[in-house]
């Protein structure tokens, strides 16, 4: 019997229970991601995505499951973005960060737990995906963004900038521009942040016209609510890019102020 026929047999009201998906994947010797993709191709919803049914079509959920994204920086923004992607069902995530967790990350970095202190952030991401959505395939790269991993990152349909250095942001933005990959930018400090999407423009260079000298670089204080808010906006923009939905944020940006509860559109013209 084909996998599609087995899926139809096991599903009820076009829903495939999670427990049945695990059993079927083992019986049919297919990975969970492939099984969920096949289910959606046959208009059968994996149970975990049941509450997306009034938002996405099966074809759109399938599109997310076959998508590849790269998260550059897996600290505050990156950890939150990662969490939302695995729950959404973005099929493959390239997670990039050279650092290990330290106790000062606990206030805002979702993947940082007491158990994970001292461990690589990208390895914590792998463990998190396994416990929340084992169908998602994570490629952990415990290194800085550099030419060494350009080929790996070029596979991504969207790159998400969760970095914390202006110089690194410039390098990533230039890579995305020359590789024609949309870049979803986010940055945070205190109660404030910004979100933008670079497709064809020089958005990042406009936002950061100068690379600060080393002696002027300070480590910003950041609240967990600011991180979650800006990361969620980055995820929303990524979904729209992956599903080819319109957004007013293409080659533009918004300023986020949680203290005054404002998201301000600038409609900036160079």
């Amino acid at each position: 019997m084909s996998l599609a026929a087995r899926l139809r047999e096991k599903s009820q009201d076009n829903i495939l229970l999670f427990a049945d998906a695990l059993i079927l994947a083992e019986q049919c010797n297919v990975d969970l991601l492939k099984l969920e993709q096949t289910a959606l191709e046959n208009n059968i919803w994996p149970e975990r995505y049941q509450r997306h049914r009034d938002i996405f079509s099966p074809a759109q959920q399938h599109q997310l499951l076959v998508s590849i994204v790269a998260i550059v920086g897996c600290g505050g923004l990156g950890g939150q973005v990662f969490e939302e992607f695995i729950r959404l069902g973005v099929g493959r995530i390239i997670a990039i960060d050279p650092d290990c967790f330290a106790a000062h990350n606990l206030n805002r970095q979702l993947l940082c737990t007491v158990e994970e202190l001292g461990r690589f952030k990208v390895q914590a991401a792998v463990r998190r995906a396994r416990s929340v959505n084992p169908a998602v395939q994570v490629t952990p790269l415990a290194q800085s963004f550099s030419v060494d991993i350009h080929n790996e990152v070029r596979q991504a349909q969207v790159v998400i900038d969760c970095l914390d250095s202006v110089a690194d942001r410039h390098e990533l933005a230039e890579f995305c521009r020359s590789s024609r990959i949309p870049l979803v930018h986010g940055a945070v400090e205190k109660w404030f942040g910004q979100i933008g999407v670079q497709k064809k423009s020089n958005l990042i260079k406009n936002l950061y016209p100068q690379i600060p000298p080393q002696d002027k670089i300070t480590i910003p204080s950041v609240l967990s609510c600011t991180v979650a808010a800006v990361a969620s906006l980055q995820v929303a923009e990524t979904i729209k890019l992956l599903l080819h939905l319109d957004s007013p944020l293409r080659d533009n940006w918004k300023s986020v102020d949680l203290l005054n509860c404002e998201i301000e559109a600038l409609d900036a013209q160079p």
Partner: protein, 74 residues
């Protein structure tokens, strides 16, 4: 001359969100920034009437100047 100055993010702390202010002729963007006690190195984008401008740009009567900090955390 009168210029509307709009501050964003933590530049608002201890200052204001938006204020109409008086400046002499030939005031530049950097004059306004420094006059507010803001370190030029902390400034990301400056815009006059929604268009990007430079520190040395001269302000005109009735301009709207927006000043954004560099926000770099991730």
């Amino acid at each position: 001359m009168q210029v509307t100055v709009k501050l964003f993010a933590f530049f608002r702390e201890g200052r204001f969100k938006v204020e109409e202010r008086e400046y002499p002729q030939a005031t530049t963007v950097s004059d306004v920034v420094e006059g507010l006690g803001i370190d030029l190195d902390k400034v990301g984008i400056t815009m006059i009437n929604s268009r990007h401008c430079k520190f040395e740009t001269l302000l005109q009567e009735g301009d709207n100047l927006a000043i954004f900090p560099v926000i770099g955390g991730g």
